[in-house]
């Protein structure tokens, strides 16, 4: 189960030769994805989609597929990483794209089913196939590569009207590799009508992960009136390269609350697609990025209002320190029939040094007239008046600036409902501030 890919000569590649143990029921979608992968232009800064990403590492390089780590390594790394402490979470461990937890051994909870891709029933396979949106990824050859060569993945289902109290906690870990390697992986979440679920995805990597390229996709379907809370924390090491997508489709009256946090790394790109496909759906998307040193972070978000009467509220804030760079591209797309849409997007950035860099692009694409849409973006330094006010109360300038910087993102952290996640992130933020202040 491994392949070798040379991006520059990919038009000569053959899919069956790449995937030795394919999932036969996924074959047709994978073939389509592979065609897209082969025909897509190689990412460079001249291509709008990759304008702010450094993709030069793809040039002249061959990649193999990441291998499954052996048991002794797994036991070792399980303790190595700093995980969130939950009282009651269902924990799943994924290493280099391979699911290493014994899914069948997870304690059973009424209304919740978690299935490995290779153990799915035909009905479940249909669900997974319906999540393979080849068109959506047309611009993203790495997303297509992930889809085309998938052999491991998870399907998470919640039955109608079941409210799952325990969060699912997925730890995605990337380990070191001697040769350039690609890991690939997909999570499919399917909520039935009126179901509720919380998913926490936590990404980490070892310090010497520089040869790895981690590809991942999480695809979510929210049926009528369901509610889904999603935390996605990209806390990889500075050397990491990850390119991932999160796609959520909302049916009528469904609600999505999601929270993203990214520290950045060598390449850290997440594309967030949110699609309102049923009336009165609502999404609240919040994000914080805190790149420092020479890290880069990139969030591309796209909210599509395909039907009338849906609401979207998106807020992203970032602090960019040292020589780091951040890219935020937030798009709101209102389709012609999506009257009475309400979509608001706000992005604020704080640059801490004159070697830090931010590129932000809040976009509106609107084809309906009776809508309320607005976006705002700012790049600024801390408000001098606030710094002065704190100083007149005896707080020195540096401390004042630190307090105000924390406050800038704390406002968003305060909105996190899940206490374990909030505490973990508050602590993380404190550590970050100590690091940045020095």
């Amino acid at each position: 189960m491994s392949f070798t890919i040379d991006f520059e000569n990919r038009d000569q590649l053959d899919l069956p030769a790449l995937v030795s143990k394919p999932l036969p029921w996924l074959k047709e979608k994978q073939r389509l994805a592979f065609e897209q992968f082969k025909s897509a232009k190689t990412p460079t800064r001249k291509i709008e989609h990759w304008k702010y990403n450094d993709m030069t590492f793809l040039k002249g390089q061959s990649f193999t597929q990441s291998k499954r780590a052996n048991e002794s390594v797994l036991t070792e790394v399980n303790g190595e990483f700093n995980q969130i402490t939950f009282e009651d979470a269902i924990e799943i461990f994924i290493v280099d794209g391979h699911i290493v937890s014994d899914i069948s051994a997870l304690r059973s909870i009424e209304g919740l089913t978690i299935t490995n891709f290779n153990q799915t029933s035909p009905a479940q396979q249909d669900i997974i196939n319906s999540h393979a949106d080849i068109e959506l990824n047309s611009k993203n050859l790495l997303a297509n590569l992930n889809e085309a060569t998938l052999s491991d993945g998870l399907l998470i289902e919640v039955e109608p009207k079941k409210v799952i109290k325990q969060p699912i906690y997925i730890r995605h870990v990337t380990l070191s590799s001697e040769n350039p390697a690609v890991s690939n992986q997909k999570i499919v979440v399917q909520l039935a009508p009126s179901a509720e679920l919380t998913l926490v995805e936590h990404f980490e990597s070892s310090l010497d992960d520089s040869e790895q390229l981690a590809l991942q996709q999480t695809s979510i379907y929210l049926a009528a009136n369901s509610r889904f809370t999603h935390y996605r924390l990209n806390l990889e090491a500075e050397t990491a390269r990850q390119v991932s997508q999160v796609k959520t489709t909302l049916d009528r009256d469904a609600q999505l609350n999601s929270f993203y946090l990214g520290l950045g790394s060598k390449l850290n790109r997440t594309d967030i697609e949110t699609i309102h496909a049923g009336q009165n759906a609502e999404c609240n998307i919040t994000g914080i990025y805190l790149p420092a040193n020479e890290q880069a972070i990139d969030y591309h978000t796209n909210i599509e209002h395909r039907v009338p009467h849906c609401n979207s509220n998106e807020v992203f804030r970032g602090i960019i320190a040292d020589k780091a760079s951040a890219t935020f591209n937030g798009k709101i797309h209102i389709f012609q029939d999506a009257q009475k849409s309400d979509a608001q997007l706000n992005n604020k950035n704080l640059l801490l040094t004159n070697q830090a860099e931010v590129n932000t692009k809040p976009e509106l694409e609107i084809y309906a007239d009776d809508v309320s849409c607005a976006h705002g973006a700012t790049v600024a330094q801390l408000d001098n008046k606030s710094v002065y006010y704190l100083q007149t109360r005896g707080i020195d300038k540096q401390k004042a600036k630190k307090m105000l910087s924390i406050a800038f993102v704390q406002e968003l952290l305060n909105q996190i409902k899940h206490e374990s996640v909030r505490d973990y992130l508050s602590h993380l933020l404190d550590n970050y501030m100590v690091k940045v202040a020095n």
């Binding site: 950035n349 640059l351 860099e357 976009e363 976006h375 973006a377 700012t378 790049v379 600024a380 330094q381």
Partner: protein
């Protein structure tokens, strides 16, 4: 209520007549010979021909850009004629009396009187008909102040040192596909030089008109405001109604030296095509200015015409404390498409820029704002404020905003806001209930929406712009 508004947006294009003049037109197609022909026609010095050929070489290596939010068939340059001039003025008119009376009649029809005695007090006009500048008024009066205002083809001979120094200095030949094309084949355009410390005594103005069928217009404008000088310049554009699309690829370069100020206003009313989207001008224009220390460049544009508008008047804020402004109203209706905006490149310290963009979409049109604000690592204390508002009239049109913000300086402040609204039934009902008819109500609401931009236009033209908008909107209210 929608039906009433629909009716309202369908108005005839008032400037759509064809002038029957004998013209000399170059056979269609682009090649070195065509470029040599143009250069020879203008009796150009060798260096300029070389410059054109160099641009052509670069052009051949470039691809037509595809990133804009525009849909149109690829332009076939083999079908475009790159030079057309009214034959009777081949020997260049020495004064207005020598200009073909039919031409003068054309401009009278357009409401641009050329006879000096009839001219709007205090406005000097240069007229470019197809590819050639046909008349410049008030030359002597301007000369008294030391101001040079003449066709660029003439300036090549009379002031070669200035042209050689500045041509292509703001928009390099290879800047983009259309700028490279223009550099190779540009025909004529206006040249302005304001000497040190001079405040130009009157508004300068150029009217552009495409008349001949199957021709492209490739004018090039160059304005130099020397230290401490001040100039206000206005251009207007019209074209006849024709079924096929005509290409217009202009380049405008502005240089504001230390403490100088240039105010550049455009009222663009090229033929937009008919109700079903046939015909109309493809308007691909590169406009850019450079501001030196303490200088200021202000772009104001009212865009109502063209089937396709691709245009981003920009300012490079090179000197410390320099100021860039962009005020824009873009109205699209029927099948018009506009992708327009600006670039503000902050290089110097304490540079400031303001962007106010108002997009109005009606009918089945698509209207996009595309802008770039870039703060360089040297731009201490730089500031930008951007406001983009879209107004939708009817539910078959689109309004889009693509702002790029790139900052590399912690003390630079960038603020961007965008909103979308519509002319609501409630607003219309209130007006009607108070006795105001639909047309008046819509034009009131739209004018209110554009107020911040109109107030930036020179007085006479603000009125003209308001009227133009009103006429363009007639019948488009849906």
């Amino acid at each position: 209520m929608s039906d009433v508004i629909d009716e309202y947006v369908k108005t005839e294009y008032a400037a759509g007549f064809v002038t029957d003049i004998e013209s000399e037109t170059l056979a269609p197609g682009l090649n070195e010979d065509a470029i040599r022909f143009i250069s020879a026609k203008k009796n150009e010095p060798e260096w300029l021909l070389e410059w054109r050929l160099q641009a052509y070489k670069k052009f051949l290596e470039m691809d037509e850009p595809e990133w804009a939010h525009l849909k149109y068939p690829k332009i076939n340059l083999d079908e475009v004629s790159f030079y057309s001039a009214p034959k009777s003025i081949d020997d260049a008119p020495k004064s207005l009396d020598e200009v073909d009376p039919e031409l003068i009649e054309t401009y009278n029809k357009l409401g641009i009187p050329l006879h000096e005695q009839e001219i709007l007090a205090g406005v000097a006009v240069d007229v470019v008909f197809d590819s050639v500048s046909v008349a410049t008024t008030f030359k002597e009066k301007l000369a008294e102040a030391g101001v040079i205002f003449c066709p660029i083809s003439e300036a090549v001979h009379s002031h070669p040192e200035i042209i050689q120094k500045y041509l292509g200095s703001v928009v390099p030949q290879q800047d983009n596909y259309f700028a490279a094309l223009n550099s190779a084949v540009f025909s004529d355009g206006s040249f302005v030089y304001i000497p040190k410390g001079v405040r130009c005594p009157m508004e300068l103005s150029t009217y552009f008109r495409i008349n001949e069928a199957k021709t492209g217009q490739f004018e090039r404008t160059l304005i130099i405001a020397d230290e401490g000088s001040h100039v206000s310049y206005l251009e207007g554009c019209t074209a006849p109604m024709r079924d096929e699309n005509q290409l217009h690829a202009a380049v405008v370069e502005l240089v504001a030296l230390g403490d100088a100020e240039i105010k550049y206003s455009t009222v663009q009313n090229w033929y937009p095509g008919d109700e079903d989207g046939n015909g109309g001008i493809y308007n691909f224009v590169t406009k850019r200015g450079v501001c030196h220390t303490n200088a200021k460049i202000s772009w104001t544009q009212v865009e109502t015409g063209s089937a396709i508008t691709w245009k981003y008047p920009s300012v490079v804020l090179r000197g410390d404390n320099s100021v860039g402004e962009f005020y824009s109203v873009a109205l699209t209706r029927n099948y018009q498409q506009a992708d327009t905006g600006t670039k503000m490149i902050h290089l110097g310290k304490n540079t400031k820029s303001t962007i106010i963009s108002k997009g109005i979409s009606a009918g089945k049109s698509q209207n996009a704002y595309r802008g770039l604000v870039r703060m360089s690592p040297r731009a201490d204390g730089a500031r930008n404020y951007t406001q983009c508002d879209s107004l939708l009239i009817g539910d078959r049109c689109g309004a889009h905003t693509f702002p790029y913000i790139e900052s590399k300086h912690p003390s630079a402040i960038v603020e961007h806001e965008a909103t979308t609204s519509k002319v609501s039934d409630d607003q219309l009902f209130l007006c009607l209930q108070r006795g105001i008819d639909v047309e008046k109500a819509v034009s009131m609401i739209v004018n209110g929406f554009c107020k911040e931009v109109f107030k930036e236009l020179p007085m006479e033209f603000a009125v003209e712009a308001g009227k133009l908008l009103e006429v363009s909107l007639e019948g488009s209210v849906g």
